[in-house]
């Protein structure tokens, strides 16, 4: 009989890299910022680019979060998500144009009130549309990915054409409310006010979403549903209702993102949602399908990288996002923060 192998407890701490590994996705955002700082010659332009990158990332996050949650919860892949962005933008911008006097006045309170009204109108419209979309288009094709992709794509085309019928085929130009025009100067860098507002709103929404998901009962049910839906249903919760709620909330968020994006670009078209979908897919894939945190990190990375590269090498900006996605998928094929399914 051979002697049992000796077990000597190792007291040595794991290496720094090993300990950092789980935090790697979170660290990637500051790493990109630092690389940007090193690559961009002037600090003030770096600051401007970083703020616009963060603003862009936050807006993409707002638009993408609903889609990733819907997928995580019900395994429904909604290729028509982009249409909520367009509808939100058109409704919101119509409200803002109707409230022209309020937006043209140089008072911050009136401007914010007009924005608030526009956002409320947009979220209500897209929330309602999301509810209808879920009822009519998505519900009959649960569990069949192939059909989901086809049918939601069809839905996207139809609603997009309806926008053209209702608002006309021309793009609509919009100027930002008076108080949000222009820029503030900070450390020699010009920071557009609107972008700062967008960063603040995005951050607030992310924290609110995190709070709801982590610290409330409904959030607990949603997270449990993502991991093991059958078990949650066996415990007596009607997951279908929760799912419809998440779908509506996700659509409303997309509508909100649409208004913000429309004001950011200062022009809206019926196709804008479809164009944003490409960005959203990239973000959702690199973040890990179904993960809100991954989506947030992915959105910030895409926003920052896009802005840095557009500054350094304008032609390469078109494919920088694809490059980022390829790199991330080579590193983690399931995305940065894969969602663990207990199935």
């Amino acid at each position: 009989m051979s002697a049992a192998p000796k077990h000597v407890p190792t007291m040595a701490q794991a290496g720094l890299l090993d300990r950092l590994a789980p935090w790697m996705p979170v660290l990637l955002v500051p790493i990109i910022m630092l690389v940007g700082l090193a690559a961009i010659p002037s600090t003030s332009s770096w600051l401007t680019l970083t703020v616009s990158g963060l603003a862009m990332g936050m807006m993409i996050f707002i638009m993408a979060s609903g889609m990733t949650l819907v997928f995580g919860l019900m395994d429904v892949i909604n290729f028509g998500h982009g249409v909520f962005i367009s509808v939100g933008a058109f409704v919101g911008v119509s409200v803002l144009l109707a409230l022209g006097q309020m937006t043209a006045a140089p008072s911050l309170v009136l401007n914010l009130l007009a924005m608030l009204l526009a956002v409320i109108a947009a979220t209500i419209a897209t929330g309602a549309l999301g509810w209808a979309f879920e009822r009519v288009i998505v519900k009959p094709v649960y569990g069949a990915h192939l059909k989901q992709i086809l049918v939601t794509m069809g839905g996207l085309i139809v609603v997009e054409q309806l926008i053209v019928v209702l608002w006309g085929p021309e793009e609509i130009y919009i100027t930002r409310p008076e108080a949000l025009k222009g820029a503030v100067t900070f450390a020699g860098a010009a920071l557009e006010k609107y972008r700062l507002v967008a960063v603040g709103m995005g951050l607030a929404l992310f924290l609110a979403m995190r709070y709801v998901l982590r610290s409330t009962k409904i959030g607990l049910i949603v997270r449990a549903g993502v991991e093991n839906g059958e078990m949650v249903e066996a415990l007596g919760y009607r997951l279908r209702l929760v799912f419809v709620g998440v779908f509506v909330a996700g659509s409303a968020l997309a509508g909100l993102g649409g208004v913000m994006w429309g004001l950011y670009q200062e022009v809206i078209t019926a196709h804008m949602g479809q164009q944003m979908m490409i960005m959203i897919f990239i973000v959702v894939i690199i973040g890990g399908l179904g993960s809100v945190e991954g989506c947030f990190i992915g959105a910030l990375m895409v926003g920052l990288l896009q802005n840095y590269i557009a500054f350094l090498e304008p032609k390469a900006a078109l494919i920088s996002n694809i490059g980022l996605m390829v790199a991330i998928l080579m590193w983690r094929p399931q995305g940065m923060i894969p969602v663990v399914k207990a199935k």
Partner: protein, 351 residues
């Protein structure tokens, strides 16, 4: 002989057979049956789209993965011919080089995309192809030095394929010129590649693809490498789509982002597959024929209908020919719900 040519995959329905034979005859003698520039152009478009849709059906209907990059592959083939023709000496050499390099590049691109997405989840493929295809479309319209940008490229094809080349006089009232030869290049090219596709889906390889579509987990358990088969199908389909693109480029003598790369074409292809019937090559024939004919002639009908309801509010807007895409979208959703097997599936059921 005929059974062998169709790889043993017969239409299995009398009505379907009749329709297919009618389409084949119409296409084979299109320049003589329907003389006129527009109708011959429609016939050539039908040939090319049958091939394009059939190659798409190989991934969507037979393998069960959704790709949104099919127009990208189509465009790669078209631009391959266009670039070769504009940079090389005028002649058949340029056509062959352009066609082959287009097919190889398309297959390589499909291989790379498949490598990144198919090993994880089949739905990743749908999203990644959409992202890559749109990036390529933007890239093509931006790199105007190479691709001509939004304006596209005009180029010269061998003189033997242009209307300027005349041989003999007239046959059945049709002038025998290079355009006629060009049509038959398109027709026989599409026919041969279609038969090749039919051969592929009825081979052991094709059977494995269908097994994967039905249940990928079991297929893997039986011992087939699902990823390898899926990637293989994507590559073959991409190469054939590129060849269809090359034929289109030879026929049109022009390529541009709108004609070969736009997302609208992708939507058209999806509709043709679904309406014709997924998972059967004959669906592609029916779907493409129906769709191209409707696209060319139904829009005029919508114009008339729109004019007829002019006094009613909103209705003229809904019926205007520009809203053609919306009605297609509705038709598309309804056919996915109610006729998942498409026209071909319906016809086979009735027999």
């Amino acid at each position: 002989m005929l059974v062998k040519l169709l790889s043993g995959d017969l239409p299995r329905s009398k009505l379907l057979t009749a329709i297919l034979v009618a389409i084949l005859i119409c296409l084979a003698f299109a320049p003589f049956l329907f003389p006129g520039i527009r109708s011959v152009d429609t016939a050539a478009r039908i040939c090319i789209f049958i091939l394009l849709v059939a190659s798409y059906d190989l991934v969507l209907g037979y393998t069960g993965i959704v790709s949104f990059a099919h127009t990208m592959f189509f465009g790669i083939g078209a631009y391959g011919v266009a670039l070769a023709c504009s940079h090389m000496e005028r002649g058949f050499g340029a056509l062959i080089v352009g066609t082959l390099s287009g097919a190889v590049v398309a297959a390589l691109a499909a291989f790379l995309i498949g490598l990144f997405s198919l090993r994880v989840r089949a739905i990743f493929f749908a999203m990644i192809t959409l992202a890559v295809a749109s990036a390529v479309a933007v890239l093509v319209s931006q790199l105007s030095g190479l691709t001509g940008g939004e304006d596209g490229l005009n180029y010269k094809i061998p003189r033997e394929l242009t209307p300027a080349f005349k041989f003999g006089g007239e046959l059945l009232g049709v002038k025998l010129n290079g355009k006629l030869l060009n049509y038959y290049v398109v027709f026989f090219g599409a026919l041969m590649l279609f038969l090749l596709l039919l051969r592929i889906v009825n081979s052991p390889f094709g059977r494995v693809l269908q097994a994967i579509r039905e249940n990928d987990f079991r297929a893997e358990a039986v011992g087939y490498r699902v990823i390898a088969y899926r990637t293989g199908a994507a590559c073959i389909s991409a190469a054939i789509a590129a060849l269809a693109g090359s034929l289109y480029a030879i026929w049109l003598r022009y390529v541009g982002p709108d004609t070969v790369l736009s997302f609208e074409i992708m939507v058209d292809i999806l509709l043709m597959v679904v309406i014709g019937g997924m998972g059967t090559m004959y669906g592609a024939v029916i779907g493409a024929t129906l769709f191209v004919v409707a696209q060319n002639y139904l829009q005029e009908l919508m114009q008339v209908a729109s004019g007829a309801v002019e006094s009613v509010p909103l209705l003229p807007d809904l019926l205007s020919p520009d809203r053609w895409l919306m009605w297609l979208g509705i038709l598309f959703i309804l056919s996915v719900y109610f006729f998942p097997t498409g026209i071909v599936g319906r016809l086979r059921q009735d027999d």
